[in-house]
């Protein structure tokens, strides 16, 4: 059962990756081409997901939006984890005062709801894909940092690090050969789980008009554009929403599957 779930996730992710790297393969049409005569068509064979108010094919737009959404998701997670690594390692390895300072700082960040933190950042630096990506990264960093710190604290006290000391290994060698790889093992799983979450967050920001801006084919922006027509033309919001959900579920399935594997190798 677990394996079925894992492989379903892997298959979905693989499809999304193909769509992101070569959207033309899946949907050869132009995502920005408008056909005013064909506006608001319901899903059919000609238009799998229907069309929007300008007659643009929603299937094509959703597929072409995959790249933007995945990129935002992945880079936001990378920023979050990158920052978290710095804070987590400083806190976990540094002297006690540094640990104390970093941890208190992270707790202050924690006190804000993540999305609020992201909004705050955007208010200061202005909307856009770049800022919303950084904002999401910032907002997720404290959570990762806490996990990394606790993991570092466990590993640095592990008897195998002491055994390495007894063998005459220096601090850097212990850090590179034992500590970081053992911390990274658990981090990898977190990363996969985090990407899905970041995609949802980035879409939320675009939906609020703070991330990608129309006419760009980005899922959150498409959701936002479709909102006006929600009662009459459901497909304009349903399909971008479905893809946000699929990507979040797929990454979660893969992340959980990997978690099981690393726990019971």
């Amino acid at each position: 059962m677990r394996r079925v779930l894992l492989w379903t996730g892997v298959a979905a992710l693989a499809f999304l990756l193909v769509a992101a790297i070569a959207p033309g393969l899946v949907a050869p049409a132009d995502p920005l081409a408008i056909h005013p005569t064909q506006s608001f068509r319901a899903p059919s064979f000609a238009h799998l997901f229907g069309t929007d108010e300008s007659g643009r094919d929603i299937f094509t737009r959703v597929i072409h939006g995959t790249g933007a959404s995945l990129l935002i998701g992945i880079s936001a997670t990378a920023i979050g984890v990158g920052l978290a690594l710095v804070f987590g390692l400083l806190a976990g390895l540094g002297p006690r005062w540094l640990d104390f300072g970093t941890t208190r700082f992270l707790e202050v960040l924690f006190a804000f709801p993540g999305l609020l933190l992201a909004l705050l950042f955007i208010v200061v630096y202005g909307p856009g894909v770049m800022t919303s990506t950084i904002a999401v990264g910032l907002a997720t960093a404290p959570g990762y940092a806490r996990i990394i710190r606790s993991r570092v604290l466990v590993v640095r006290r592990a008897p195998y690090l002491e055994a390495a000391t007894v063998l005459g290994r220096g601090w850097w060698s212990r850090l590179w050969r034992h500590l970081l790889p053992n911390v990274a093992g658990s981090l990898f799983v977190l990363l996969t789980l985090g990407i899905g979450q970041s995609i949802v967050w980035a879409s939320s920001l675009s939906y609020l008009g703070l991330g990608a801006v129309p006419p760009a084919a980005e899922w959150g922006a498409m959701l936002s554009a479709g909102r006006t027509y929600l009662t009459s033309f459901w497909w304009m919001t349903f399909f971008p929403g479905l893809f946000i959900m699929i990507s979040a579920v797929a990454t979660t399935l893969v992340g959980r599957g990997l978690q099981q594997r690393t726990r019971h190798p």
């Binding site: 592990a158 002491e162 790889p181």
Partner: protein
Amino acid sequence: MTALVSVRELAVSFGAAPVVSGVSFDLQPAQCVAIVGESGSGKSVTARALLGLTGGTVTAAELRFDTTDITDASRRRLQRLRGRDIGFISQGALVALDPLRPVGREIADSLRLHGSLSAIDRHARVLDLLAQVGVPNPALRASQRPDELSGGLRQRAVIASAIAMQPRLLIADEPTTALDTTVQAGILDLLERLRVEGAAILLISHDLAVVSRLASHLLVMSGGSVVESGPTERVLADPQHPYTRSLIAAVPTGRARFERLTSGPAAEPAPAEPAPVEPAPVEPASLEQRDVLAADRLCRRFGSLLAVDDVSFSLKRGRTLGIVGESGSGKTTLARLVLALEQPDSGDVSLLGEPWTGVRESARRARRPRIGAIYQDALSSFDPRWTVGRILADARGGAAGVPVLLESVGLSPDIAGRRPRHLSGGQQQRVAIARAIAPRPDILVCDEPVSSLDVSVQAQVLDLLDDLQRSLGLSYLFISHDLGVVRHMSDDVLVMRDGHVVESGPTEAVFGAPQHEYTKGLIAATPQLP
């Protein structure tokens, strides 16, 4: 008199594989029968079958407790038996107790489930039980949680809960493993008293010396079946089965230095070890007498606790200095000081005549390979991501010597590709030894290297350490709570208590004519074969 417990042709299997087969024995009131064997021999499964707790498929010509047929009994009937008529003492006293509840509540459980006492009477009975099993200050202890109690007190609490309903049968599965020697002696005395008062006891252990004190009848199990059984004296004096003989031979207590504990080929003439580890450089006679390791008035304090208090010793090349003491005696702190993982508050250690503590780590690093270490928990001393081969290649500084290294500790080179967690406890400790000798050290610090191993595996590891000492000219600092092991392994010995040395000198002089009360107590508490 009919037997209280009667077992005939008991067989237990999980799936297709039989784990236990053809086990038969009787148990009378006020009798103790012991099942002896190493891990995986099926002894614990046999004991659990009496409680109806095995799972799997249990078949038996007869499996009877008093008038109840266990194989046939309903779940409800078994639940009534457990705790009321059959008490169970399991090995891990920490995991057997709920960490979030006061131990008094835990003990009161069986009174509540099986008795009709009021809450106040139950509390009084709990205090009474704790006092009976020798817990000092029962009122305080009953209100504490397991993590506030020492290992010995926890095990006593488990026993108190097992005997709460005055069961007619007590099943004790490794009741003293992992406990200090004197604590173990106390627990065994307690079990003996319960037996005299009329309880039937089924005792499970890997250690013949432990059970021989209590049991009138022995069952020796190996590979799921009983290889030998009979009255204790007869089995010990005249063992018929080779496995029984090897178990008896494995007990280190009272065995001379270098006497072999296993029947494997003796390593003499030693070099079972070709090129990889060069023979120890031949030292001129003057150097021969020099100390490879010396500690001078070491002190280490943790807060208000003086963990190591004015300890001095010296270790000569090719010799073993044993350090014996119970938990909290400071012996592990001493090991960490010697390995310079911990800095002394005062005093110093010198290695091969040069200062070792009190210098910077960078000044020590180049000399680190001279002193190696093996630990009680070998598994956690390996990076979990690494294979055996990588661990050894890392310690050795190259993959070339790995197969020879594995062979020198009696392992097949095939296991280089496996991860330590897939190996048995004995194999893990062998890998740890291989890693420790890989940089060709002069000294090995062995901190409780065999205390989590079965007696038979312990014997193999001790023999291996003996062989390596002679072929490589190693000096050992050998730390253990087990006086029998230390006595067998050491040339000189240090008896530690509460951080200071109570007695020291050549092993036979110290243990042959102990001067200090504490040493005498330790010797009296050490289980021995009659």
